[in-house]
Point group: C2
Chain length 168, copies 2
DNA sequence: TATTGTTATACTCTATAACTATA
DNA sequence: TATAGTTATAGAGTATAACAATA
């Protein structure tokens, strides 16, 4: 069932090129960014994502475990592991949700917010140097507009048949 | 020395958006692709990259360890580990280089080539469904053209001050 | 019964440092 | 001395399955 009924029909060279550049740029960028986060705040990229989501995106500074897992494409156990690390470091707190006793609400602490602002300037610097220096403002806008539909498409299609539940 | 003399001056929202989409798309794509490679050929993404580089890019099917490490942004020991796995699986062979006794030449085997062609159709399918279905041919071309300079810029700048040697 | 989250466990990957051998 | 590669080792991250508790 892994072979499709239609002939393989390889991607054309433009598509292959786009695939490779995309993956290489993202890989190199992640590498650079992880090093900065490690140096400036002893954070992994995923941990930064979690903190940023709580501290920058969420108006309340809180989210349920499940929502965090959905946003970061994580296994439940993986998120539990990371949330445990963050909590042990005093960067977030966990408490049973008010409305649903099964849920756990994760909240960023003052120390967490402080760490974000400590790490953010360096982070922005890396982005500026590595990613944006070769891109004009228009380029950046176009790039964003091109990738946004892809992201939405990927989020919609549930290819992760692993566990069972995923979609909210 | 981690704070720059110039004011933090945060990225504008367009730049931040571009950064996040780029990372999310690449992350989701890598996730999907890794699952396919695992299912169809029991390969990690890095192992696939190594085999593809030897089998598809190199005309001779051989490369030195160092050149492979440069191409895949790996630590030397990491490459040794992966090359060891591939060799144990019979997908590559290793032999001291002819001209330089210090070097090791890695060569893809028939089994390695066979595995690539076994895995490639499914790989292409995933790319088509996940990445390219929301992109026109023009979109794809533009995306590629936008990212190519970024890749070149990142390759040139040696931010990995870790080990010591890196640039060829 | 379905969902939320945790735990135990095992495995893969990566990086650092020490080491050998050749240039 | 500098480079190519390996080894030992240690640590971080991830996933699976079994589990407990609530809806």
């Amino acid at each position: 069932m892994s072979t499709s009924p239609t002939p393989p029909s390889p991607l054309d060279s433009v598509q292959l090129g786009a695939y490779f550049v995309l993956m290489e740029v993202a890989g190199l960028l992640r590498h650079a960014v992880e090093q900065q986060l490690r140096d400036d705040g002893d954070l992994s990229y995923v941990q930064f994502q979690l903190l940023a989501r709580l501290g920058l995106d969420s108006p309340t500074g809180s989210e349920r475990m499940t929502d965090l897992a959905d946003g970061v494409v994580y296994s439940r156990s993986g998120l539990t592991y990371q949330a445990g690390l963050l909590e042990k470091a005093g960067l977030v707190s966990r408490a049973p949700s008010a409305d649903d006793e099964r849920s756990v609400t994760v909240t960023i602490t003052d120390a967490g917010r402080s760490l974000i602002s400590q790490v953010l300037p360096g982070h922005v610097e890396v982005l500026r140097q590595q990613l944006f220096s070769p891109l004009s403002r228009t380029d950046t806008q176009v790039l964003s507009d091109l990738l946004a539909p892809v992201r939405d498409h990927m989020r919609a299609a549930p290819p992760r048949s692993a566990g069972s539940r995923r979609r909210r």
